[in-house]
Symmetry: C2
Subunit: 163 residues, 2 copies
C-alpha cells in the first residue's frame, strides 16, 4: 500500500497539494521540485518520495523524506500530505510508521519534522504529537514575523530495530 | 575588498577549506557544491558566494549565504571561513558586516547561522556572539549523538536600514 512514487503519480500529487488549501504557490513548487529530483535523478540520495494507495489503488497521500545532509543517522520528513477526501482514515499514520521502520532498517536514530506555528497547521502539529514527536526547538519569526519554525523530533528505539 | 566569487577562485577556496582542519570531506564537498551552483547556475537565487581579499589581492576568506527558502526576509549564512594565515585580522567581521548591510538593502530582517556544538567550533561560536548573534534554538544530537545543531540569529535593526 506504501510504494515509491512513479512519474505517472505526479499530476495527482500536484492536485492533492493544491486542493489541501494549506500551501502557498512557492511551497507547492518546493514540494514538486523534490518530486522531480526524485523522478529524474535516480542516483541522488537526498529526497525519497513515497505514496500510499487506498483500497481502489488511488493515491491517498504522499511523503518525502531523506537522510539529513552532514548528519549521522538523522532523517528529515520533509512533506507529508493526505488527500482531503482520504483524511482521518489512518493513511498519515501508515506513512509515518512506514518511515520509522525504514529509518530503523537503515540504522537511523532520529527523525525530524519542521512545521510552522500558524494556526492552520494546528491539526498537523497534533498529528505529529499523536505519533510521538515532540517540539525540541523553535526559531521565532522564521517564516515571517509571528510565524515560527517549529522543529519536532522523535528518537527511535534501538531495541525495536533488533527484532 | 569584498567581491563575488569567480571561477578562478575555486581552487584557493578549496585549499582554505582543506587547510582549516575543521571540516570533514563531506562538509568540504557540500561547501564546494554551493560554489559550483553559484558559478554554473547564474539564475539560481539560493546560494551567493562572496570572497574577501587581503591587501595583496589574495583571498583571505569567503562566505556563502542566501535567502532562506519559503521565508519572508530571513537569510542564512551557510559558510564563512577565513584562511588560517589571515585569521584575527578582521576579515570575518568584514564579511559579516557586508552581509548585514546587503540583507538590510534587500529589506531582510533576520539572519540565521547554524553550527555544531563540538568543542572545535568554540572559537566560531564566540565569533558569532561577538558579532551580535545569539543562540535561539538547539536540536540535541542532530549531527551525531552528543553533537548538537546550534542555531544563532540576529534581528536586523530596521532603523539602520533607513539611513
Amino acid at each position: 500500500m506504501v510504494r515509491p512514487l512513479r512519474a505517472s503519480d505526479r499530476e495527482e500529487v500536484k492536485r492533492i497539494l493544491e486542493a489541501a488549501d494549506l500551501f502557498t504557490p512557492p511551497e507547492i513548487a518546493c514540494a514538486l521540485e523534490q518530486v522531480d529530483i526524485f523522478l529524474h535523478q535516480p542516483q541522488q540520495p537526498d529526497y525519497r518520495l513515497m505514496v500510499v494507495e487506498n483500497g481502489q489503488g488511488k493515491i491517498a497521500g504522499f511523503m518525502s523524506y531523506g537522510p539529513t545532509p552532514l548528519t549521522e543517522g538523522t532523517y528529515d520528513l520533509y512533506w507529508i500530505v493526505v488527500s482531503l477526501s482520504e483524511q482521518r482514515k489512518g493513511y498519515g499514520q501508515l506513512l509515518v510508521k512506514w518511515l520509522e521502520e525504514k529509518v530503523q532498517e537503515e540504522k537511523g536514530r532520529l527523525i525530524l519534522i519542521e512545521t510552522s506555528s500558524q494556526p492552520k497547521y494546528l491539526g498537523t502539529r497534533l498529528f505529529y504529537e499523536k505519533m510521538g514527536y515532540h517540539e525540541v526547538a523553535r526559531v521565532r519569526d522564521f517564516y515571517r514575523p509571528g510565524d515560527d519554525r517549529v522543529i519536532y523530533a522523535k528518537k527511535l528505539n534501538k531495541e525495536r530495530g533488533r527484532k
